[in-house]
């Protein structure tokens, strides 16, 4: 059995992956849903059939050159903690983490391709990239899928396209999404109109872990909803355009806040630093929301000594499963809050207080 812990890159390393616009766009992802002809969908198939499907798909996926030296495992061989870690890394969905017999995961070395077998569909393959790289991710997963279709018999209809378990994914089976850090729009109270106008374009805005989750740490996921009636390239193109605009709005919002309400911004960031650097008990939720402000502070140049990757690493290692993994004993939620605070204090030990830029000339110094 593979050991997931030694396979995954250390959090410090995964926080250091860079991509275009990663100040605001944390990551890009393109997912394709595919199913085998003549087999019931995972939610309806009996256990025996699901196992058979897994045994058909898994070797086909493993045999692709992109998946050389991959981590490949049946979900029933993964512990609860490992599954949760995969969710926190955004490598599998929460739904997939709940799966057991008959479901599987194949993940490549670089953590750029993750294939969930028997999630809601027989196949959910995704290409992941740091920063804003939707086109690159689409090209990568398109080629991946083209190689796989030679080995598997997909359910496809000339009129309806790729047939998926849920009609919302029918047609292209594509979900293009980006994870955005938008503290400026949240602090500037512009986020709701932005979300509404993005919704009007037929795009969904969701929280950190996708469907039905909160926007913790000012992190939002934007993705397409419609999959039928438009080609993949048009869907990717539209999302790209919308993201360009959101990036611009976020940059403007930050600029405006600094010009109009510098004290408010410095107050938020300073308090966030104060709590993170000194707390002795802190919940995962509060940590994420404060780390978001710390990240904004780094972007605005208030913490010259540290890199954004330190914040991104803390963002990952302070989450419940990652924290639990570092301690052998099972921790209660209260104990985790203590450990989390200890860890954050320790990591911020050498980070100096935020350097507030000179006050504007019209106020006395």
């Amino acid at each position: 059995m593979n050991d997931l812990h030694s396979f995954l890159s250390p959090p410090a390393e995964s926080a250091r992956r860079h991509g275009p616009h990663d100040r605001i766009v944390m990551s890009s992802r393109v997912r394709l849903a595919r199913n085998l002809k003549d087999a019931a969908y995972p939610g309806w198939a009996k256990k025996v059939e699901r196992v058979k499907i897994l045994d058909t798909i898994r070797p086909a996926v493993e045999s692709l050159p992109e998946m050389k030296d991959s981590f490949s495992e049946a979900m029933d061989n993964l512990g609860q903690l490992d599954k949760q870690i995969l969710v926190e890394r955004h490598l599998i969905s929460r739904e997939h983490a709940a799966k057991n017999t008959g479901s599987g995961l194949v993940l490549n070395r670089e953590e750029t391709f993750s294939v969930m077998i028997n999630e809601e569909d027989h196949l959910r393959m995704q290409a992941l990239r740091p920063g804003l790289q939707l086109k690159q991710a689409w090209v990568a997963i398109d080629n991946f899928d083209s190689a796989l279709e030679k080995k598997l018999d997909y359910a496809f209809d000339a009129d309806l396209g790729y047939l998926t378990a849920c009609p919302t994914n029918l047609g292209t089976g594509i979900r293009v999404s980006a994870m955005l850090h938008l503290p400026g729009l949240v602090l500037g109270e512009q986020i709701n109109p932005i979300i509404q106008s993005v919704n009007k374009l037929g795009l969904a805005v969701r929280g950190l872990y996708g469907e039905g989750t909160e926007a913790l740490g000012n992190v939002f996921q934007v993705s397409n909803q419609m999959t039928l009636g438009e080609s993949e390239s048009i869907i990717v193109e539209r999302l790209n355009k919308v993201l360009d605009q959101i990036i611009e709005h976020e940059e403007n919002a930050r600029q405006l806040l600094l010009e109009k309400k510098p004290k408010t911004v410095y107050n938020h960031i300073g308090r966030a630093y104060g709590i993170l650097a000194n707390a002795h008990s802190i919940s995962s939720k509060e940590t994420m929301n404060l780390l978001s402000l710390l990240r904004l502070g780094v972007d605005l140049g208030l913490f010259p000594g540290i890199e954004r990757s330190l914040v991104d690493e803390l963002f990952l290692v302070t989450q419940p499963a990652h924290l639990q993994k570092q301690f052998s004993d099972k921790l209660t939620a209260e104990e985790r809050d203590l450990m989390r605070a200890d860890m954050v204090r320790e990591r911020l030990k050498n980070v100096s207080r935020p350097v507030v830029k000179k006050t504007p000339p019209n106020t006395s110094n």
Binding site: K37, Y41, Y154, L163, L201, V205, Q225, T227, L228, S231
Partner: protein, 171 residues
Amino acid sequence: MQCSICKEKPATVHLTQIVGDKMQKLDLCDDCAKAKGVNDPAGFALADLMLGLGAAQEIEQAAGGAELKCPRCGFTQADFKKSGRLGCPECYKTFSEGLSGLLKTMHKGTRHVGKAPETLRSSTEYAGRLKTLQERLEKAIESENFEEAAQLRDEIKQVTERSTAPKNLTR
């Protein structure tokens, strides 16, 4: 007016979403609205909520009251109502009538445009699809329905591009 989810309490929250030229409406009671996160714009998408409500009813109507059952996998409309998911690829044929209305409200169009498995791209089925599109285009031009014609032209362009484009970075 009753809540469309619990069908018990009176609806106090009325939602309308317009995407393009499509309108979706939903009436909810306070409790269901809260439970579905309607007040939280970040976590809420009307399409997700519509699913399994409207569609099941449409399938029921299309079946004329009799319960449809997929001959391939035994999935029924009641199962669809419960899960909002289908049983197998064949279900799309079994429930096609009821689904078509749902697909219209849910998606940009009701016909697939975009990638197709390579084996089908060159097959007669695929050529037939192109032919149908071209015939529809001619009819649309004849009847001076230029809006539809423009849309069909785009579809044809995408279909042919897709079938001839080399697998590289041109897209």
